[in-house]
Structures are given as structure tokens and as C-alpha cells.
């Protein structure tokens, strides 16, 4: 991508926010599950990118930095805050509708919960590789760069992650 006009840090935040904020939040939901925490992580990442803009300079590096920061922060948030436990606890009290599923949309909501739950049970690296590969559609090389691991490792995490998800979600893999 060629960019003729050079962005400053503020423009970079605005442009990348407009184009990628929602998707990065959803990426973070795949990683940490709790939507509130996910937004926190993404907002923090934007602030961090703003601080680093001088060394990033162009939109592609900015986006790469955002992705990397979102993944790293998601991982440390999981470690430090027991987010998942919190989320699960809150949901238990929020009790989902007692009525039977009205429709395939209600079933879809159940399926989403089960997918996020299955992701939650994976080891960090497997979850990260799956999210970057299948949600952001990154190449093996891009994933390796984002996570700071070898391409061979990306392959093996992806392989194990897919196998584990298929184990847990067999039926849902079929019905989408």
C-alpha cells in the first residue's frame, strides 16, 4: 500500500480506528471472551500505538502493531485478571432466557457461546493462532511475525487448535 500523505499520530489513530476498531474488538473477544475487557484492551492498544507512532510511520506498520499489542495484552489480561472466570460468573447470574429457543437465531446465539467457550479452553498460542488465521485471515508468515514464533510453530499450533475445536464442536462445524 502506498500512502502519499504522511499521517501524524492523531490522524493515524483516527484512520485506523475508523477502519479497524470494530474488527480488533471482535478479535479481542475471541481471545478474552469478555466484550468489556476486549474493548479495554483495544483502546489501550490504540493509545500505545499513538505513543509509538514516530517509529511506526505508516498504516501497515500501525495496524501490525495494533494486532500484536491486542494479542499480547489479551494474553496478559487473561493471566492477571481472571477475566474469563469473571465473565462466566456474571453470565451465570445474567441467566439467559428460560423460554425455549424461538428460532434459529436463538440457536445461533447458543452456538456462538459454545464456540467462544471452546476457544477459551485452548492453550493461549493455539487460540491466538486460530483467531489470527481464521478471523483476521493472516498468512503464516504474518502470524509468525505477530506472535514472535516460527512458521513451523504456527503450523503446529494451528493443526492442534483445529483438531481440538473440531473435537469440541463437531456438529457446529457442520451446520454453518
Amino acid at each position: 500500500m502506498t500512502v502519499t500523505a504522511r499521517w501524524n499520530a492523531d490522524t493515524a489513530v483516527e484512520e485506523l480506528y475508523a477502519a479497524h476498531y470494530a474488527r480488533l474488538v471482535r478479535l479481542a473477544v475471541l481471545l478474552v471472551r469478555d466484550p468489556e475487557t476486549a474493548e479495554e484492551v483495544v483502546q489501550d492498544s490504540f493509545v500505545a500505538m499513538h505513543g509509538r507512532w514516530r517509529t511506526l510511520k505508516d498504516p501497515d506498520s500501525g495496524l501490525a502493531y495494533l494486532r500484536q499489542t491486542v494479542v499480547n495484552r489479551s494474553r496478559s489480561v487473561l493471566r492477571h485478571r481472571g477475566v474469563q472466570a469473571r465473565y462466566v460468573a456474571r453470565h451465570r447470574t445474567d441467566a439467559v432466557p428460560d423460554a425455549p429457543p424461538a428460532d434459529h437465531l436463538a440457536l445461533a446465539i447458543q452456538r456462538r457461546e459454545q464456540v467462544l467457550e471452546a476457544l477459551r479452553e485452548l492453550p493461549d498460542r493455539q487460540r491466538e493462532v486460530l483467531a489470527l488465521r481464521y478471523y483476521l485471515d493472516l498468512s503464516e508468515a504474518e502470524i509468525a511475525g505477530t506472535l514472535g514464533i516460527s512458521r513451523g510453530a504456527v503450523k503446529s499450533h494451528a493443526f492442534r487448535g483445529v483438531a481440538a475445536l473440531r473435537d469440541r464442536l463437531g456438529e457446529h462445524l457442520e451446520d454453518l
Partner: protein, 364 residues
């Protein structure tokens, strides 16, 4: 199953898993923090983190969608009638997108913007859409009844889009309509554990009294149209409350809606035969499968394929269960051409009074 379809399935699964996540944060929150950072405070990164989006509590089971300026979906025209095989942009969709931005009670413009200008991060990912059932009113021998039309709505704003389509009568099927007064706008739909709330804004006609010429039965069906659509889109059977111009409404179209409106029993409000696929205007290849739901006498479902007003094929089948809306399907072989597919219940009265659903389709 080969690797490629496996990969596609994984993509769809993950895309779907977060398709109902609607970010609430605002660009302003980030701006405020970067401005502070510039003044040399660097304690914010984690210290303030928790507070920053504290007002943006987003729980996956709670859907809160508000129409903001720059109407969601408009950027992508992301709302079209869903047809197996129909790719035509729907006139209804243009209508939906062409709505002037309504005054928004508590707009979150930046969020809307970010959601609408949704990302194609590296390799063009398709715009994220969801299929939502939208209910419309059609005429039957038993009076006006609800029909269901599956439509695509942008994943960033599926619930309001669906309810708006219902009220505005955005459908490709000429047999369906909306009895709501022209100009009625749906400005937001919120849902939480206490129920669903649909925010309406009237056009020139007041929404409190029953408009001249509208029967009580039609008013009831109109309200149920919104109740059905909102409940299905949210995935809840909670009663639906209404606000008009921001104020809780106790009367709507001349009906008492105080305390919320429950979904009425199927037979009272729903047509007994629905065709869900193919959609109106769809192009299909022969043989094609027709699927739908029916709640007919002894689960009988009768169909005809008409060309230029003449029946060229006919048949019958049964739904999987009687006494309730239950799925049916049948397969039709037909040479290429334009047809009208008519599906109806059996004529128990012998008077030709059947409830039908019809779809104009093209066979390739």
C-alpha cells in the same frame, strides 16, 4: 471433507462467533487519553484502563443498538433480501438505506462509523451479515396474518435493521406489506433481562390512536409484526415495550401496550403456510427444493407451479408435525423459465379459501 472446506468452516465459525459483538467505545475516549499522554502522564496505560470503558458495559447476551447519524448499514448498502440464489439488489434495501438519519436520542456516531466502515484487514473479508427473520402482513381468508421473510442485515446492526424493515415494509414480496403508517421510523431496539424495548418515531400520523381505516385486527397484527421480528432478532421471548418519540407508550395504534406485549399464539397471528426458500425473485436451478413452515390441517401442504397463469406442475407433501408450525420441504423439476410457485393448505371448506404463500421465481 478437504482442507479448503475445513478452513472455510473455521472462518465462518469464528466470524459468526463474534458477529453480534457491537463495540461501544468511542474514539473520544482514546483521544482524551492520547491528549493526556502528550502532557507527560504515563500512568494511564493500565491504571486507567478499567475506568475508560466502564460506561460501555457490553454483555454478549444484551443487545443495545441505537440508530446514529450516518445510518448504520448505509455505507455498505448492507441490507438485502436474502434469497437462495437471488443476488439482485432489492429496492427495499435502497429504501432502508436511503432513510434520512433520524435524530438520535443517544447516538454513538463514532461507533456507528467504525461498524459501518467495517474493515477488510488484509485480504478482503466479506462484509459481515446475518440472516434475520422479518415479519410482514399478508391477506388470508382468516384476515391479515404474519408471513416471515428471511433477510440479510449488517452484523453491526441486525436487530434495528430487522425491525425497521418490518415497519417500513421493506420486502421484495409484493404479497406482503406493513400496515404501519408511512414514515414510522424505528430509532432503536434495546434488550436486557427486563425485556425488549422498541423505540419508534412517528411520521405525519400519530402512533397512539388507530389510524383511520385500520381495523382493530390489523392494528393487533401490526404490533405483533414488531413483537415477532424483535423477539426473533434478539433471540428472546421477553415482552416488547414501546416508546414513541422517546417516551414510554401505553397505547399504540389504539391498543393498550402498557406493561409490554407478549407474542400472540401462532394460529391467531401467523399465516398457516410460509415459503422460506426460494425467496421472491430468486433464480434457481432445476431440480430445486422448496422449504418452509406450515401449520395446516393434518399437516397437509399443497403446491402448484404456474407459468403464465397455467398450472404446469403440482404436488403435495406433509409438514413434519401437525398442530404446530413445522417444517416441510419438497423438490420440483421444471424446465427453464419464469414461474409462480404457490404453496397452500388443503381446501377443507371446498370454497376455494386457502391460505397461500407465493413466490415468483426463475428456473435456469
Amino acid at each position: 471433507m478437504n482442507d479448503r472446506t475445513d478452513d472455510d468452516r473455521m472462518r465462518r465459525l469464528l466470524e459468526d462467533a463474534v458477529s453480534d459483538v457491537t463495540p461501544r467505545g468511542r474514539l473520544e475516549d482514546i483521544r482524551a487519553r492520547t491528549a493526556r499522554a502528550r502532557h507527560g502522564r504515563r500512568g494511564w496505560l493500565w491504571g486507567a484502563g478499567a475506568g475508560v470503558v466502564a460506561t460501555a458495559a457490553t454483555v454478549a447476551a444484551v443487545v443495545t443498538l441505537t440508530q446514529g447519524p450516518g445510518t448504520p448499514g448505509s455505507a455498505q448498502g448492507g441490507f438485502a433480501s436474502n434469497a437462495s440464489g437471488s443476488h439482485a439488489a432489492s429496492p427495499g434495501a435502497q429504501h432502508a438505506s436511503g432513510q434520512p438519519p433520524a435524530a438520535t436520542p443517544q447516538g454513538t456516531p463514532t461507533v456507528v462509523r467504525s461498524a459501518a466502515s467495517q474493515p477488510t484487514p488484509s485480504k478482503g473479508t466479506p462484509v459481515s451479515t446475518l440472516t434475520v427473520p422479518v415479519y410482514f402482513v399478508g391477506d388470508t381468508p382468516h384476515g391479515p396474518r404474519l408471513y416471515k421473510d428471511n433477510q440479510l442485515a449488517p452484523a453491526s446492526d441486525p436487530v434495528r435493521t430487522a425491525v425497521h424493515a418490518a415497519v417500513a415494509g421493506n420486502t421484495l414480496d409484493p404479497d406482503y406489506h406493513s400496515p404501519w403508517p408511512a414514515g414510522t421510523d424505528v430509532t432503536g431496539v434495546t434488550a436486557d433481562s427486563s425485556g425488549i424495548t422498541v423505540a419508534l418515531k412517528s411520521g405525519d400520523t400519530s402512533l397512539t390512536a388507530r389510524p383511520a381505516g385500520m381495523s382493530r385486527q390489523t392494528a393487533r397484527i401490526a404490533v405483533q409484526q414488531v413483537v415477532h421480528t424483535a423477539q426473533d432478532a434478539v433471540g428472546s421471548q421477553a415482552p416488547v415495550n414501546f416508546t414513541v418519540a422517546g417516551k414510554p407508550a401505553s397505547r399504540l395504534l389504539g391498543l393498550d401496550v402498557s406493561g409490554g406485549v407478549k407474542r400472540a399464539a401462532d394460529l391467531d397471528v401467523e399465516a398457516v403456510v410460509w415459503v422460506l426458500s426460494p425467496a421472491q425473485g430468486a433464480t434457481v436451478h432445476s431440480p430445486f427444493t422448496v422449504t418452509g413452515l406450515a401449520n395446516t390441517f393434518e399437516a397437509n401442504v399443497v403446491w402448484e407451479l404456474e407459468r403464465n397463469g397455467h398450472v404446469v406442475k403440482q404436488g403435495h407433501t406433509t409438514a413434519t408435525q401437525a398442530m404446530m408450525m413445522a417444517p416441510y420441504s419438497f423438490t420440483v423439476h421444471a424446465p427453464p423459465g419464469q414461474y409462480l410457485l404457490v404453496v397452500h393448505d388443503s381446501d377443507a371448506s371446498g370454497l376455494g379459501k386457502v391460505t397461500e404463500d407465493t413466490k415468483a421465481i426463475t428456473v435456469r
